[in-house]
């Protein structure tokens, strides 16, 4: 009789335990499906943003990089040819600003209403490059090695912008 009661209680315990385990499994499954759906939604949104906003305008980003690089090349040539003067510094600063302001209107302004954080980061990087460039350009001790520093700064900013534009894939 005692043995029978013991088996009965074991049976009840096993049933309760299996119900709890099953309930836990269902909860875990639902949670995972929910998390997955949330991640998928976020990824779809980023993919959509990239396809509709970034990709059609990516040529403009690369055009900005190419024209900036050509400006720095031109600055190096001016320096090497001994044609560097205050007026040429003013012209170079002006030309680079025109490039930057055009980039803001054609790309950053488009990104801004959809992803303000990304727009602010890109604009911050570009502004940082412009500040560095003008500080060097109008420094009393401006020399050829400063042009190399400008190039380094430019390549850093370029890679950071590319990283920001494609990081959603990771």
């Amino acid at each position: 009789m005692l043995l029978y009661k013991f088996y009965c209680s074991l049976d009840v315990f096993a049933t309760v335990a299996s119900i709890i385990i099953a309930a836990f499994a269902v909860l875990q499954f639902t949670y995972l499906v929910f998390i997955q759906a949330k991640k998928e939604k976020k990824r779809n949104k980023k993919e959509w943003f990239h396809r509709l906003v970034i990709e059609p305008k990516i040529e403009e980003v690369y055009e900005f990089f190419e024209k900036s690089e050509s400006e720095f090349e031109d600055l190096k040539n001016l320096f090497n040819n001994g044609d560097f003067s205050l007026q040429s510094s003013l012209n170079k600063a002006e030309k680079f600003k025109v490039l930057i302001y055009k980039f803001r209107r054609s790309f950053v302004d488009l990104v801004d209403p959809i992803d303000n954080d990304l727009a602010v980061k890109i604009q911050g990087l570009v502004d940082d490059l412009l500040d560095f460039y003008t500080e060097k350009l109008f420094s009393d001790s401006f020399k050829l090695t400063d042009v190399k520093l400008i190039y380094n700064k430019f390549y850093r900013v370029q890679s950071q912008i590319i990283y920001l534009l494609y990081r959603w894939k990771n």
């Binding site: 803001r104 412009l130 109008f138």
Partner: protein
């Protein structure tokens, strides 16, 4: 009787770093905004002139945005240009940089997110 508010000049030369030929950076813009008390100056005068020294060759939007943000936001584009004028003593022309900074400040008000 309504008090006739005067004309005030802010000389950027008073806020330059020794030897600097440019005004750049948001932090610097903020510092000059606080030191020059531009908001109080705007409040207490009809016209404000900002003097740019002869040997200043660039004032970048990063600086101008922080320096001018409160007054541009308060006045709006049209009234800002009516009230504020810039006097550049040297070869530097501030207009393009100023327009860029004002556009950026006002764009912030129109952000969707």
């Amino acid at each position: 009787m309504e008090m006739i508010k005067g004309f005030i000049m802010i000389d950027l030369g008073d806020f330059r770093t020794k030897g600097a030929k440019v005004f750049t950076g948001r932090n610097r813009g903020k510092q000059v905004r606080i030191k020059s008390q531009i908001e109080a100056v705007e409040k207490n005068s009809n016209k404000v002139t900002i003097k740019v020294p002869e040997d200043i060759y660039s004032i970048n939007p990063s600086f101008l945005e922080e320096f001018l943000r409160p007054v541009v936001k308060k006045l709006g584009k049209h009234k800002f240009y009516e009230k504020f004028s810039f006097e550049c003593e040297g070869p530097y022309d501030i207009n393009t940089d100023l327009e860029e900074a004002v556009d950026r400040i006002l764009r912030e008000n129109h952000a969707l997110v």
